[in-house]
């Protein structure tokens, strides 16, 4: 009896559990095609109205690039997409309704084989609300045009934030640029060695997500060596990055000096003592002349 009551309760809750009320949802979030120049493709998008009101959904297409942290940035000025992709007509989504819309894409025949990224945008506008806050939901569309892929990653900048480090937290600047016509996945290492080429510190670099063609990734890696015994001296800091399908390696190396703070204090202390001593000697000589 109790078990039966429990079952009824569970099933009852499953049916009566309120759905999270979000204004608008979109799927899929990302789509990626590899297509031949001149080919046609239909791209599908599903939109659902989870709000308690009917919504008018408008569609538009924007260009997408990546910022220096790897986040998507939408560009309203991209106009090539108007020629390539047909935007669907606006639709009315009733409460709880889900609809599928199609974006028809035709690639030019003479298109350069690279990765093109677009944002398929669904905007909700409520009737009678002209001033306020609106939501644009984006489905990312990547189109890699078939052809010869050339992979090249450049290290634009690899430097230490300070060439002389007085503590064991060494901060660096790393600027990478994707010079290829394809997206690059990357993995990297930071290797610190002494002048005898002995590795004193090695760590995987967190390079973030894959890098779109023509974009930069700017990072500030930190080598935290607080727990390591690190003698004073000159060290090399090497960055090694493996990238792409061809697993190429790009390397850069800089040198920096580690001067512990206590050494600085001793040197400053000795300089003060030396200055006092010199002052004393000069004073004595002057007194003797008198």
């Amino acid at each position: 009896m109790r078990f039966r009551f429990f079952l009824v309760l569970v099933f009852g809750l499953l049916f009566l559990w309120p759905e999270n009320t979000f204004a608008l949802s979109i799927s899929p979030l990302r789509q990626e095609f590899i297509l031949d120049p001149g080919s046609n493709q239909t791209v599908i998008l599903q939109i659902k109205n989870n709000e308690a009101k009917d919504l008018n959904i408008n569609f538009k297409i924007l260009g997408v690039s990546q910022d220096e942290s790897g986040r998507p940035v939408f560009d309203t000025k991209t106009n090539i997409v108007d020629d390539w992709i047909q935007t669907p007509q606006s639709i009315l989504l009733k409460v709880g309704e889900e609809k599928t819309v199609e974006f028809k894409m035709t690639l030019p025949k003479d298109i350069y084989p690279t990765l093109y990224s677009f944002a398929l945008v669904a905007s909700a506008s409520k009737e009678g609300q002209e001033i306020g806050l609106n939501t644009d939901l984006v489905s990312l569309l990547s189109v890699q045009v078939a052809g010869l892929a050339q992979e090249k990653l450049a290290i634009n900048n690899w430097s230490a934030q300070s060439r002389i480090s007085y503590n064991k937290n060494w901060q660096f600047n790393l600027d990478l640029k994707n010079l290829s016509n394809v997206r690059l996945a990357m993995a990297g290492d930071l290797i610190l060695s002494n002048l005898k080429s002995q590795v004193v510190f090695q760590e995987n670099l967190l390079l973030g997500n894959s890098l779109l063609p023509g974009t930069n990734r700017i990072l500030e890696p930190i080598a935290d060596m607080e727990t390591l015994p690190l003698p004073m001296g000159i060290y090399s800091a090497e960055v090694k990055i493996v990238y792409g399908e061809t697993r190429q390696l790009v390397v850069d190396k800089i040198y920096l000096v580690y001067l512990p703070q206590w050494v600085v204090y001793i040197v400053v202390g000795l300089l003060i003592l030396f200055s006092v001593f010199i002052g004393f000697v000069i004073y004595r000589r002057k007194n003797k002349k008198r």
Binding site: N20, T21, F22, A23, L24, S25, I26, S27, P28, L29, R30, Q31, E32, F33, I34, L35, D36, Q41, T42, V43, I44, N50, E51, Q66, D67, R71, P72, V73, F74, D75, T76, T100, S117, A119, S123, Q129, E130, I131, G132, L133, N134, T135, D136, L137, V138, S139, L140, Q144, G147, L148, A149, Q150, E151, K152, V182, N209, S210, L212, E245, T246
Partner: protein, 223 residues
């Protein structure tokens, strides 16, 4: 010398029955979402072909090959061949509450504020980025010194929340493409609280208003 397995009639029958059951109920690889009346298969993983196959009453989004359909790799270059599709069938939902901002009647002696909360929900493994999409032209001058001050014509906002990229104390100008929040993995109900701030000076035209039309753009992050 060998071992001879002798099965009697009953054992043989049971074994055959077991094999038949295994064959019938063996789980075939399937990652599709299917639905009818208009039949849809979303992103099934099949061996050949890609893109969308369309008929009168069905559509098919399929994929084949690896993430990059690489051909012959030759040093730094390789051939990319067509025929690949990948779709991330996750969802992204956004709600804004309240969805209107009205800073009320502005005067030169106070900084007027109004608050809204944006809630983002996504099962995308790469997380999401929320940015300002567009801002209506006109209205008050954007804040430029990090502080909306009474008596100066300025409009800006501050933000809080675990994923918020805005400062909670320094006022930022509301400009198109400005990233507001980001998260690098799936998240349930990420809340971003925005406080809009406005002030006017003596030279502000009486027609100037604290009301703005702002759109926010939410998307999954790239792989």
């Amino acid at each position: 010398m060998g071992i001879r397995l002798v099965l009697n009639y009953s054992m043989r029958t049971k074994l055959i029955l077991l094999l038949v059951v295994i064959i019938i109920f063996y789980p075939l690889p399937s990652s599709s979402i299917m639905s009818s009346t208009h039949y849809t298969i979303l992103n099934d993983q099949i061996g050949m072909g890609a893109g969308i196959s369309e008929g009168g009453v069905y559509s098919l989004r399929d994929s084949s090959g690896a993430l990059i359909s690489a051909g012959v790799v030759d040093g730094n270059t390789y051939e990319i061949r067509s025929g690949f599709y990948f779709g991330d069938n996750g969802t992204l939902s956004v709600t804004i509450s309240p969805s209107t901002i009205d800073l009320g009647a502005l005067n030169t002696s106070t900084v007027n504020t109004t608050e809204t909360t944006i809630t983002v929900n996504t099962d995308s493994e790469t997380g999401y980025t929320l940015a300002v999409g567009s801002v209506s032209a006109g209205g008050l001058t954007d804040v430029s010194d990090g502080q909306v001050t009474a008596g100066s014509e300025e409009f800006g906002f501050v933000g809080t929340g675990d994923d918020c990229l805005l400062s909670a104390s320094t006022s930022t100008a509301v400009t198109a493409s400005l990233p507001i929040a980001s998260h690098s993995s799936a998240i349930n109900s990420s809340e971003i609280n925005l406080v809009f701030q406005a002030a006017i000076s003596n030279s502000t035209p009486p027609t100037a208003s604290g009301q703005k039309n702002i759109s926010f753009t939410a998307s999954a992050n790239f792989y």
